[in-house]
């Protein structure tokens, strides 16, 4: 259809201008990948791929760098925050779509979206000044006390409750990603045809049984896509965790230990890296993060596209 319009010179010019603008997205992605690879080539050459990913060294003085402590920190905080965020987000979605009276639906939906609009640095600062003291004074000692005599779990809460640790960072991260999961789950829940739900009610199902056996199975693709999307977001979140994670390059077994994520390491060390190999290793870390989050986000997008196709049928 569009080719027929190319006869006019004005259209030729305008289509080229707009075309270049839209291809900028592809150029950007390839550009980011190319620049990160070429900047980290020094480090890739010295440490290789597997050795870098599997090494726990992070020693600017000895110039020995490995990504494992950072990857570990990223994965553990993301995982913990998802454990907290998923049930809450799905609960919120159920509340908005099935339980709440109509006049509350709008305001609560907006409130949740505002939570998503607050910049991450505000979360981080709030975490440092408000949440962290509360955690170290009340919540962490309490958790220590009740888990003190349970084997294995007790290990998770070893150490002094400082408030600057994996647990606090994960809680802040979970507050940040709740809105993403909640709003996508809500939209998916809303797409369940009323007819299917009414059929279940007609069979005598309670409201919860309808949600559990009809709405959630029907919208699971969309919900799952939303969860993976927030996973991708959590992987790359920087400022919210930079304040409260410390910057500690080691594999921490206790949730009350400080740790480092890829993003926190970049934020704290990038501007100060004085040697070429140091900077190159930081670029290497950025590359690892870019690849990790790109793959995660692509998977999320695939699920969401499939969900979309299913509902539009």
């Amino acid at each position: 259809m569009a080719t027929t319009f190319k006869k006019n010179p004005g259209d030729l010019v305008f289509s080229i201008i707009t075309g270049v603008a839209s291809f900028s997205v592809i150029i950007l992605i390839i550009g980011v990948l190319y620049v990160l690879i070429s900047e980290s080539s020094l480090s890739i050459g010295k440490f290789g791929i597997w050795k870098f990913l599997a090494s726990t060294d992070w020693d600017p003085v000895k110039e020995s760098f490995g990504a494992l402590t950072n990857i570990y920190g990223t994965i553990i905080t993301t995982f913990l925050s998802l454990i907290i965020a998923i049930p809450v987000a799905i609960g919120i979605a159920i509340f908005i779509t099935e339980i709440s009276p109509n006049f509350l639906k709008g305001p609560i939906g907006i409130a949740i979206e505002l939570l998503a609009a607050i910049p991450s640095i505000i979360y981080g600062m709030w975490g440092l000044f408000t949440l962290s003291p509360i955690m170290s004074a009340y919540i962490e000692p309490f958790l220590k006390k009740i888990t003190a005599h349970i084997p294995l779990i007790e290990i998770l809460f070893k150490g002094t409750p400082m408030g600057i640790d994996i647990l606090t960072a994960s809680i802040i991260l979970s507050i940040m990603i709740i809105p993403f999961t909640a709003s996508i789950s809500r939209d998916s829940f809303n797409l369940t045809p009323a007819l299917v739900k009414e059929s279940a009610y007609a069979l005598g199902a309670t409201k919860w049984e309808v949600v559990k056996n009809v709405v959630i199975p029907y919208s699971k693709l969309g919900v799952f896509g939303g969860i993976v999307l927030s996973l991708g977001r959590a992987l790359g979140e920087t400022m919210a965790v930079a304040f409260v994670l410390g910057n500690n390059h080691r594999i921490a077994t206790s949730l009350l230990d400080a740790a480092a994520t890829i993003t926190v390491t970049l934020a704290n060390e990038f501007a100060e890296a004085d040697k070429d190999i140091y900077l190159s290793s930081l670029f290497y870390l950025a590359l690892v993060l870019f690849v990790m989050s790109f793959i995660t986000l692509a998977i999320a997008k695939i699920f969401l596209l499939r969900a979309e196709r299913k509902y539009s049928r």
């Binding site: 569009a2 319009f5 004005g10 305008f14 707009t18 075309g19 603008a21 839209s22 291809f23 900028s24 997205v25 592809i26 950007l28 992605i29 550009g31 980011v32 049930p87 809450v88 799905i90 609960g91 919120i92 159920i94 509340f95 908005i96 099935e98 339980i99 709440s100 609560i108 409130a111 979206e113 505002l114 939570l115 609009a117 607050i118 910049p119 640095i121 505000i122 979360y123 981080g124 600062m125 709030w126 440092l128 000044f129 709740i178 409201k207 919860w208 049984e209 790359g236 920087t238 400022m239 934020a267 930081l282 670029f283 950025a286 993060l289 870019f290 790109f294 986000l297 692509a298 997008k301």
Partner: protein, 279 residues
């Protein structure tokens, strides 16, 4: 009889839990906003806007440099990001409508929207800071514009797709070439939608910190020179909040207050416009 009661109890408990979850979410929002408001209001005073920072550890001073710097970086980012985004979205929704390439770019933009912003910061550092040899404001503006482009591009595409095809056909029937149809008919029909997208994308980048830390960096002095390091509110908040001085903390709260209010107003405005125009 007993089974039915069990089912009812189970249902009641599950639904109460989800109601609890909703209030849990609201609780955080009120907690965070309330905290920013209370601490921010306390530290807010005129000298914050008209004075430059005092030397470290000395009472008083303001954040005039950061306010101006932030405004400049965000404005230039908007000037770069919005045209590219709007034009790119136009290509996807008009010239490449229904083509495979439009779909691919649209999906890639969706992914780019969520790519970690700190990675964009390192990318721009390699591109615009390293070759020059020093941090500069332009690098910050470009980094923010890169975050903006996919957001604006996607909303523009969606908004243009909402304009009925028959409207374009009516204009074609009058003999108008496609580019005139787009500029004079389609853009007018989608103007409010595109404007909303722009507002929301400004709200998105105005609170970004990570991409500015290695690009625009920070500057404790007043500077409007985009070729040198420029102070921004968000990076200043990071530096001040991590710093040891009480009055730095107070000023960080005040800066957070201003930036949060600004972003929330933009966001609410955007939502209201969508609601008013499309429902």
């Amino acid at each position: 009889m007993k089974r039915e009661k069990l089912r009812k109890i189970e249902g009641f408990m599950a639904l109460s839990l989800s109601a609890l979850a909703a209030f849990f979410g609201l609780f955080w929002l009120i907690f965070i906003l309330g905290d920013v408001l209370v601490h921010g209001m306390k530290a807010l005073n005129p000298s914050l806007f008209i004075n430059d920072p005092a030397p470290a550890g000395v009472e008083g001073g303001g954040l005039r440099n950061a306010f101006i710097g932030h405004l400049m970086i965000t404005s230039f980012a908007t000037l770069i990001g919005v045209p590219v985004g709007v034009l790119g979205g136009t290509f996807l929704a008009e010239y490449a409508r229904g083509r495979k390439i439009a779909r691919v770019i649209s999906i890639l933009s969706d992914i780019m929207v969520s790519v970690p912003s700190i990675v964009i910061g390192t990318f721009i550092y390699a591109l615009l800071v390293k070759p020059v040899g020093h941090f500069n404001g332009w690098a910050g503006a470009v980094a923010l514009s890169i975050i903006m482009i996919p957001v604006v591009l996607r909303t523009t595409e969606d908004m243009l797709s909402l304009v009925p095809w028959t409207l374009r056909e009516a204009a074609f029937a009058l003999g108008a070439p496609y580019y005139k149809v787009i500029i004079q008919v389609v853009y007018r029909g989608a103007a409010t939608g595109i404007l909303t997208g722009i507002l929301l994308s400004i709200a998105r980048v105005a609170g970004e910190t990570a991409p500015l830390m290695f690009t625009a960096f920070n500057n404790s002095f007043f500077s409007v020179n985009m070729k040198g390091p420029i102070s921004s509110l968000t990076v200043t908040i990071f530096q001040y909040a991590m710093g040891p001085y009480e009055n730095w903390h107070a000023q960080a709260w005040a800066a957070s207050f201003v930036i949060t209010i600004f972003i929330l107003i933009l966001t609410i405005l955007g939502r209201l416009i969508i609601k008013w125009r499309y429902r």
